[in-house]
């Protein structure tokens, strides 16, 4: 299907999210929409999918103007969308999820399970999307859940498939297989609109790359352009994708883990005797596929999860199973993995979030009374130093972009005296500009003599930042290696294959 957007404009109050956007997707084309968070990609896609209505402009499908009053209209006209956050019922089977809303029935409205299963099987064979129709969705890994979403869209005879940031939740292997799927769907003549802010992916899979910035189309380019060129188109200035580091001057260990054992919420042991040292003036990066115990390990260090056995020493003091406050006071800076859940109070102001864990200390409080002037002054200073973009430090933190929210946490944690700094997935979901910034801050702290522990599922990030790399697999350390090791070798360790 040929999809054409003409002059699509969408305003929210005085803010223009989409400004006269023209876009053509040819049949069988993988069209990448590249842009930073907040550039207007998702708004545009919501308009194409009928979830929002444009203020101006029109949509043409195969040269026929169409008007969608809801997403049902869009589905009927052959548009399918896979959202970033899946819209699946976890306790239903794959087949039940796919047919949901359009169930094949027997007499008296009974669900025809057999027909549902055979339909799904036929569909997965046709497109080469292997998945067991009888499996419960909640038991499937994220990559397969996404496959179910794609199947669901295809089951409605989608001719245009919109994929909204589909790789954000996937492992490197799952990303590869998603790209294979995209290619084979395009070969079948389906049009694909692929939304992302990851440069590697658009170059790997795209036929055309359209860059969108501040609601406007900046340029449409072939995938032969370099990552650096794409990044500067996206951000609007030159971006340094390489992290420059001075030689490491590691000192004494500031964080020592000895045989640490931690269980997850279900009571399953997920960290199985980890021993690691973080030395001052170095960055230790923990690599590993999501779900190999990294999350729980960091929570245990921060005092948010019980250590079953083993010891954690911070700056020479035993902090095993101490309260989060005691550990913070001992000098741990912590950028949590789920920043909106554990790191920020989105409904509260930026200035309050900047003193979230120091609000009781001088100069922010005296004898139980808060000093609001000091809180504001602190916020003004930090916002400037850490380049937090906000209209006011009194704005609710939830109104900031993801990158600026992360800067608020980083600024808060780095603004007090630290012994060790831990950042879990520090750049997840951030745009190129913010990633560059956060990386520079982390390296600066390490140059200043702080011990830094980074946990990341992005291998590029681990390789760029780490002075040493610890690979975690199934709750154990597969090995601590130098960053000069090849991606393939580290990839093997991440998959649990030890050096022979």
């Amino acid at each position: 299907m040929r999809v054409e957007l003409r002059g699509i404009t969408k305003r929210f109050g005085s803010f223009t999210a989409n400004d006269a956007i023209d876009l053509i997707v040819e049949p069988g084309q993988i069209h990448c929409l590249l842009g930073e968070n907040g550039a207007g990609k998702s708004t545009l896609m919501n308009i194409v999918f009928g979830l929002m209505r444009a203020d101006e402009g029109e949509i043409l499908l195969d040269n026929q103007p169409v008007r969608f009053s809801n997403s049902g209209d869009a589905v009927r006209r052959g548009i399918g969308m896979v959202h970033q956050h899946f819209m699946l019922v976890p306790v239903f089977s794959v087949a039940e999820n796919v047919v949901l809303g359009f169930e094949p029935t027997k007499s008296l409205g009974r669900l025809d399970r057999r027909r549902a299963h055979s339909e799904i099987r036929a569909l997965s064979e046709k497109f080469g999307l292997e998945v067991d129709p009888e499996a419960l969705v909640e038991n499937l890994p994220v990559g397969l859940q996404q496959r179910v979403e794609i199947l669901k869209a295809l089951s409605h005879d989608a001719e245009l498939l919109i994929l909204d940031e589909p790789t954000a939740v996937l492992t490197p292997q799952e990303i590869d297989s998603l790209m294979d799927i995209m290619r084979s769907l395009a070969d079948d003549g389906k049009s694909i609109l692929f939304i992302t802010h990851k440069l590697k992916e658009v170059r790997a899979v795209g036929d055309v790359i359209t860059v969108i910035r501040q609601g406007k189309i900046i340029d449409s380019v072939p995938p032969t352009r370099s990552e650096g060129e794409l990044a500067s188109l996206m951000v609007g200035r030159d971006v340094n994708l390489k992290v420059t580091k001075e030689a490491v001057h590691a000192g004494d260990p500031v964080l020592e883990l000895r045989d640490v054992v931690v269980r997850d919420d279900r009571g399953i042991t997920v960290v199985k005797g980890v021993s690691l040292d973080v030395r001052s003036g170095e960055i230790l990066a923990i690599a590993g596929v999501q779900g190999n115990g990294q999350t729980e390990l960091v929570e245990a260090i921060a005092g948010l999860r019980r250590v079953e056995s083993g010891t954690i020493t911070l700056g020479g003091r035993d902090v095993t199973n101490r309260t989060p406050r005691q550990i913070l006071d001992a000098g741990l800076g912590h950028v949590p993995e789920d920043r909106q859940r554990d790191g920020l109070v989105l409904s509260m102001s930026v200035e309050d979030n900047l003193v979230l864990n120091t609000s009781r200390r001088a100069p922010f409080a005296r004898r139980g009374t808060r000093n609001l002037a000091a809180v504001t002054a602190n916020a003004e200073e930090l916002a400037q130093r850490f380049d937090v973009r906000t209209t006011s430090v009194k704005s609710p933190t939830g109104s900031l972009s993801g990158g600026n929210q992360q800067k608020v946490i980083v600024a808060r944690e780095l603004s007090r005296p630290l012994t060790c700094f831990i950042a879990a997935q520090p750049t997840r979901g951030l745009d190129v500009g913010s990633i560059e910034y956060v990386h520079r801050q982390i390296v600066e702290q390490r140059n200043g003599g702080l011990g830094v522990l980074i946990v990341s599922s992005e291998l590029d990030e681990v390789l760029a930042l780490g002075d040493r790399i610890a690979v975690l697999f199934d709750g154990g350390v597969m090995g601590v290696v130098e960053p000069t090791m090849s991606r393939e070798e580290i990839g093997m360790l991440m998959a649990g294959v030890g050096p022979s």
Partner: protein
């Protein structure tokens, strides 16, 4: 980001930009409008007039007039009963006489609002921390019991006795709050269930103490307690001879409001409370001890409810009886509604309490003067709260434009 032509700031844009107090005002307007419909639908004379509008060309005008007369008479009496009669004000101003009569409605409204403010502030602080204290009524009763006990069984000079009984009331409320607080912090028991059920236990405990030798008025077989000593009474502001019941309790309420404002906006503990209420996960990660917060919230919230109960005893009732459960419609329950109405902020709660007190007090005058039942006041109260709780609906009705996505709710559901 790209900015479109900036809209001019007229009164209209100000009207359409969302402001919580504006929404509350519109909720109030809607409450009175729907109240008017209820009056029309339940007054036989009005309905009769509308039934006959086709009988003569002028019938529609007389029907409109009868409707206007009835509705305006009802709302006028509501106003006169809760704030006062404008003619009476003029009379008092010009002659300097009759102030006692003129001021009686305001005095009554303030008298009713005084304990309500205190209890509602307590509930509001708990709400802001993300905890539902549905047990304010029970805590108020416990405060009343302990306060009446201290006021009637201990005998001493007023300077010590009065503060002591107020503190006793607070302690009674704290006991009532500590039970759900400790159970939630250490056993994970849901505070809504525990506080709700405790209300019944405390209600029967009240019946026990006023029917046993513990606190029963000697020589009585009814469920009536001993009377508080004169030395432990919050005296009327203008002396007993004026007949105005508004008491020094109003200063207690004012102190509570000021304390609560300072506590929530300026104290480090209040900051911890608000952080916990807005995001308990981030609170824990920033070193706030959730167990301590839960217990402290219930100590403060329960203590204020207890104080509210005791203030009511010491200012107007002077004794506690089984009717305290039903007779005052349970200030603890009204307090939940008022806290919601005031968006859990001390300032808002003052206005909410005054509104509820005025509707309650004025409703009685309306019933006496126009025969429209007191229940209409309750209908208006309920509709106002309904609309305050559903901001989306009010925005839709008045075409208020929404700038931000999502909806700001006064409460977030029944805890986690």
């Amino acid at each position: 980001m790209t900015t479109a032509e900036a809209p001019r700031r007229t009164w209209w844009t100000r009207y359409t930009s969302q402001s919580p107090s504006l929404l509350t005002f519109f909720a109030l307007v809607l409450g009175f409008l729907i109240g008017a419909i209820v009056i029309i639908a339940t007054t036989p004379a009005v309905l009769d007039a509308w039934r006959h509008i086709f009988h003569s060309p002028t019938a529609i005008f007389s029907a409109l007039k009868i409707t206007w007369d009835n509705v305006s008479a009802a709302y006028r009496s509501l106003f006169v009963g809760s704030i006062g009669d404008p003619r009476s004000f003029v009379h008092s101003f010009t002659t300097g006489k009759g102030w006692d009569t003129t001021m009686t409605p305001i005095s009554e409204t303030l008298t009713y609002a005084t304990p309500l403010v205190i209890a509602s502030v307590g509930v509001g602080i708990a709400f802001q921390t993300g905890l539902f204290n549905i047990g304010a009524n029970g805590q108020a009763i416990l405060g009343g019991i302990v306060g009446v006990w201290a006021g009637s069984m201990l005998h001493m000079t007023s300077v010590i006795h009065l503060p002591l009984t107020l503190v006793a009331g607070v302690l009674g409320g704290i006991v009532g709050g500590l039970i759900p607080g400790i159970l939630k912090a250490y056993a994970g028991a849901h505070e809504v269930i525990v506080t709700l059920m405790l209300n019944y236990i405390i209600a029967f405990f009240l019946l026990y103490v006023v029917l046993s030798t513990a606190l029963q008025q000697p020589g009585q077989s009814n469920d009536i307690s001993r009377t508080i000593d004169h030395s432990a009474i919050l005296q009327p502001l203008f002396g007993t001879s004026s007949g105005l019941r508004v008491s020094y309790g109003i200063f207690v309420a004012a102190a509570v409001v000021i304390f609560a404002w300072w506590f929530l906006n300026r104290s480090t503990l209040g900051f911890d409370f608000r952080v916990t209420g807005a995001n308990p996960f981030a609170a824990r990660a920033s070193g706030i001890n959730p167990k301590a917060v839960i217990i402290l919230v219930f100590v403060i919230s329960g203590g204020l409810a207890g104080l509210a109960g005791e203030v009511q005893m010491a200012s107007t009732n002077h004794y506690i009886d089984g009717g305290f459960l039903i007779g005052n419609a349970g200030i603890g329950f009204t307090a939940i509604t008022v806290a919601l109405l005031g968006r859990n902020r001390p300032g808002g709660i003052v206005w909410g309490s005054l509104l509820f007190a005025a509707l309650g007090v004025g409703g009685r005058t309306m019933q006496a003067m126009t025969g429209i039942p007191l229940d209409l006041a309750t209908v208006i109260q309920s509709i106002v709260v309904l609309f305050v709780a559903t901001p989306v609906l009010v925005k839709e009705i008045f075409h208020l434009r929404t700038q931000a996505q999502g909806v700001q709710l006064a409460t977030k559901g029944w805890g986690q």
